[in-house]
């Protein structure tokens, strides 16, 4: 079975074209934002032996609305 080709929505296409006109420095300035994330931002360092440990920790400790849970 062959996947249907992805059609780019016009609004996104215009955004991609606009971004292509910007320098990398400008793109990064617009892209990176910082807001406080509860729990996640409250420890200076976290280390996980496995990705599974990390995913499980996120599901058990972070608010659902942050979107770190698996679906």
């Amino acid at each position: 079975m062959v996947d249907a080709p992805v059609k780019i929505p016009q609004e996104w296409l215009e955004e991609f074209e606009a971004a292509a006109q910007r320098t990398l420095e400008q793109r990064m300035k617009y892209a990176f934002i910082k807001t406080y994330k509860p729990v996640l931002d409250d420890e200076p360092v976290r280390l996980f032996d496995t990705m599974e440990d990390y995913r499980r920790w996120c599901e058990e400790n972070l608010p659902d609305w942050l979107g770190y849970g698996r679906v």
């Binding site: 996104w12 994330k37 698996r70």
Partner: protein, 156 residues
């Protein structure tokens, strides 16, 4: 803590190169380096998992301004799958075994270089988001896949 800046990405690039640390920008931060217009809070690095690269990584991060105890440094050098750092000049996630990518060496072969930054291919970025099964990653996939079509159309 302010948002991650271009200047800080340059510090990563330059310090990691000085110390010979092999890394790739991954996740949405990697896609942004490739031209993807979107927002994110995190800078994510896929780092080769080896004792030598771990030592280079710790040295480079200390040079940039991250502060580790000897125990934490030793753990990073010994090898973890995921490390989240909020103890430096910017927040940084270090991923040593991203979902959906078999080996660092494979991703390295497929890498894209942008202004000296080493970045995972869009295929690998999309594969890792798909394999994570996380809500926030799956929500970003349609736009990322559209960007891949656009990007390929530009001969990238």
């Amino acid at each position: 803590m302010a948002a991650f800046e271009y200047r800080q990405a340059e510090e990563i690039r330059d310090a990691f190169n000085r110390h010979g640390c092999r890394y790739l920008f991954i996740g949405k931060s990697g896609a942004i380096l490739l031209g993807f217009p979107d927002t994110t809070q995190d800078a994510d690095l896929f780092v080769e998992k080896s004792p030598e690269n771990g030592r280079s990584l710790v040295a480079a991060l200390r040079e940039i301004g991250f502060v580790f105890s000897g125990a934490v440094a030793a753990e990073i050098e010994r090898g973890k799958d995921f490390v989240q750092l909020k103890n430096g000049p910017f927040d940084l996630d270090l991923i040593f075994a991203p979902d959906g990518i078999e080996r660092f060496s494979d991703a390295w072969e497929r890498r894209v270089e942008v202004e000296g930054f080493t970045v995972c291919s869009l295929d690998d970025i999309i594969a890792s988001k798909l394999a994570s099964h996380r809500q926030k990653d799956l929500e970003s996939l349609p736009r990322l896949e559209s960007f891949r079509v656009y990007w390929r159309g530009k001969g990238k």
